[in-house]
Assembly symmetry: C2
Homo-oligomer: 431 residues x 2
């Protein structure tokens, strides 16, 4: 049974606080094991990478076999059915068009004193893209990570993907090919993250690593953070649906289950002011579960982490949504657009009854890599800016240095940094 909360209850405040604080992940002690793997790859390179791959993926490789060949990629593309390839191309083109609009503009201006200021954006030189193996190997995620990097202008996008027992998902290779990935290596886990960060004889290091992974991958990304850039550490996925009496219970139930089927730790939440709708949704969830292939996972997620929150009016729903800061927020109320303008914290908003989250997962064009576990309070979904960096530019001539210099000297002295002050004073013949 999902959790039920009601803003009319006397203890709502404390129960909601508890709900927000609940962790959905088992915190395993993986850090020590991860550090050993990362240090080993940093020290011994390919040899350590090959050993770890033998141990964890039951795969015997030599250095020459680490890289997936062009012939293998071609064969994988040919092995996929044409309809799926067409759908991937459709998705790729829409993702590309959306992210083109995120390309930032450089700035250069001269202020009233004649000081020239500005900044310039440039692409990261090389990016590593982690792709999980097994059931979580999603070709759509390959596109969502690779396409913005290519739009940003990253010349080298390196993918790593584990191939347990030698198996690779042909659709993942096809998506990499369509997404503009430059190199693919059949390695995974903490060892692959370490190889991307430190480099080996076979794998040239990258400057930034993105993409989801299991607890070891997440721990490895934390460890190499600073040596290279990383994207967010993704947690289990979540959806929050705000609905009223006008909403379609069956559609809502389908959307809640689409989230729940990802992972037993996924979370689906409904907030509504309609008691009747809440009851209808619950019934529809049960009914749809009966015929769902991944019903076991979806049921576990719904029973353990699902929630229905009753509110007196929809304005309350928005305030709760801002506190929950969901990765995905669907608003299906009569006045969805107006309500959405009050949302401050959400990874993505899906407006109206005809925008199920699955559209955004695949073909909407916006990115499906979004902040989880309340991190939408302080971070954004993946985008072009994640693959670029900004260099600021400052230029003074003699007149400008005369105008700015005395204040800089005052502050340098006030901070006890005399050489700072002198570097200005020397140019102005000031003490």
């Amino acid at each position: 049974m999902p959790i039920r909360l009601d803003t009319s209850s006397a203890d709502f405040g404390s129960r909601f606080k508890q709900f927000l604080a609940a962790k959905r992940e088992v915190s395993a002690d993986v850090e020590r094991a991860t550090r050993a793997i990362v240090d080993d790859v940093a020290a011994r390179g390919d040899a350590a990478l090959i050993e770890a791959t033998r141990k964890f993926d039951r795969l015997e490789l030599d250095a020459g076999g680490l890289r997936v060949t062009a012939a293998e990629i071609d064969a994988a593309v040919k092995a996929c059915d044409a309809e799926t390839i067409d759908a991937l191309k459709f998705a790729r083109d829409r993702i590309e068009a959306f992210h083109q609009r995120q390309l930032p503009k450089d700035e250069r201006f001269t202020d009233a004193l004649g000081v020239e200021l500005g900044w310039r954006w440039s692409a990261v030189d090389a990016v590593g893209l982690y792709v999980p193996g097994g059931t979580a190997a999603y070709p759509s995620s390959v596109l969502m990570n690779a396409v913005p990097a290519k739009v940003a202008g990253v010349p080298r996008v390196v993918m790593v993907v584990p191939s347990p027992d030698g198996k690779l998902n042909p659709l993942v290779l096809a998506a990499a090919d369509l997404g503009g990935v430059s190199e693919i290596y059949r390695v995974g886990g903490a060892q692959a993250v370490a190889a991307l960060a430190y480099g080996t004889a076979t794998i040239t290091p990258v400057a930034k690593i993105v993409g989801p992974g299991n607890a070891y991958v997440a721990a490895a990304k934390r460890l190499v953070f600073g040596k290279v850039g990383i994207d967010m550490i993704a947690g289990p996925s979540e959806v929050l649906v705000i609905a009223d009496a006008t909403s379609n219970a069956g559609w809502i139930a389908a959307d809640l289950l689409a989230q729940a089927e990802h992972d037993a730790c996924a979370q689906s939440i409904l907030i509504t002011d309609s008691v009747a709708l809440a009851a209808d949704v619950e019934r529809a969830v049960e009914s749809q579960l009966a015929t769902l292939p991944r019903a076991d996972i979806a049921r576990a997620s719904w029973n353990d982490f699902g929630a229905i929150i009753m509110v007196k009016k929809l304005d309350e729903a928005v305030e709760l949504a801002n506190a929950i800061a969901a990765e995905h927020l669907e608003i299906m109320t009569a006045d969805a657009e107006a309500l959405s303008t009050k949302v401050r914290n959400a990874g993505a908003i899906f407006l109206g009854p005809h925008t199920p989250e699955a559209i955004g997962d695949y073909v909407g064009g916006s990115n499906h890599v979004l902040p989880t576990a309340r991190s939408a309070r302080f971070s954004s979904g993946l985008g072009v800016l994640d693959f670029m960096k900004r260099t600021s530019i400052l230029k003074c001539g003699p007149d400008q240095l005369r105008a700015l210099g005395p204040a800089a000297m005052t502050l340098g002295k006030a901070e006890g940094l005399d050489a700072h002050s002198r570097s200005v004073g020397l140019r102005l013949n000031l003490p």
Copy 2:
């Protein structure tokens, strides 16, 4: 003696690689101690915070005394000399004007299929600003962190600053006041970071923590990353100067020392194609050191981490600069502007002989919080975007869902996520 490298040497490649890989910080085993402090504050709140403050800052407080009062702030402002306050105001206004230009635009568009797409930027609800105590308490850094947050529209900016033995730097309080800080607490170290992340009875938690600190503060920021957002983990500061025979050796020496005086681990590097200039700069450094108040620190930095790299031509200098990815890059060659366009990796570029880095540290207007330790390869200086997040928006009507739905269903099925496919199919009466 600074390190000397020469691109004409046969072993330059390996020596430069070694130079890039050299660490400038002692890696102390602070993580365990930090975790204990963070966990204690998370569990016991104010009581743990007060205990840690007694232990580390030798300061006895009760919960009521944690917050710095308005009267204390007023008194601090009055205690500062008027010239310094004026310089801080001048800096504040210039920082504000520069960062106003970084405010991002929202986007909303309708594509050829009629799908509405876009995104909306919003400010983080509450930001914590860490300010170090002791000699590293720089009022200029308070402005560089607080002003962009206020420009972004952050309603609540909370500053924490340790007051060892009860001492607070009046200029830091004055800068906080000028920068729009809403609350100030006299706590520091890992305990202050934990209080900002988890909250205590006295300190309401924030969503993001920024600002520099010692190894314990950095370790605490790493630990709370995910619970809250953090900015970069700052390392020792560095400057790279590219100069030719036309450059003024005395000015360059002054700039190298302005960097070196920060910290014995700071790094000052000169790259030049002129043997005569290199020799002149070395002599000028020695001569200027003779009368510098912080000569001990500056000399240690210059001798241990300083470097002079000789190149055959200036194009080589740019490629080395891209590999070094310096926090601060001064270009003082005859053709500075043209050379600068080839720079991909640098936190900030200071163009021409009349733009010493100290101008950018204080009153240029651009931010002085910049990526260190080669992280300019993948990250940017602090800016308005660090205090905002982007929510993407997607809206389909029935026609758009019909246009996009089949491809989404194909991909959902290909990924084995039937509920995803169903959430679309149910709305379109498709199987």
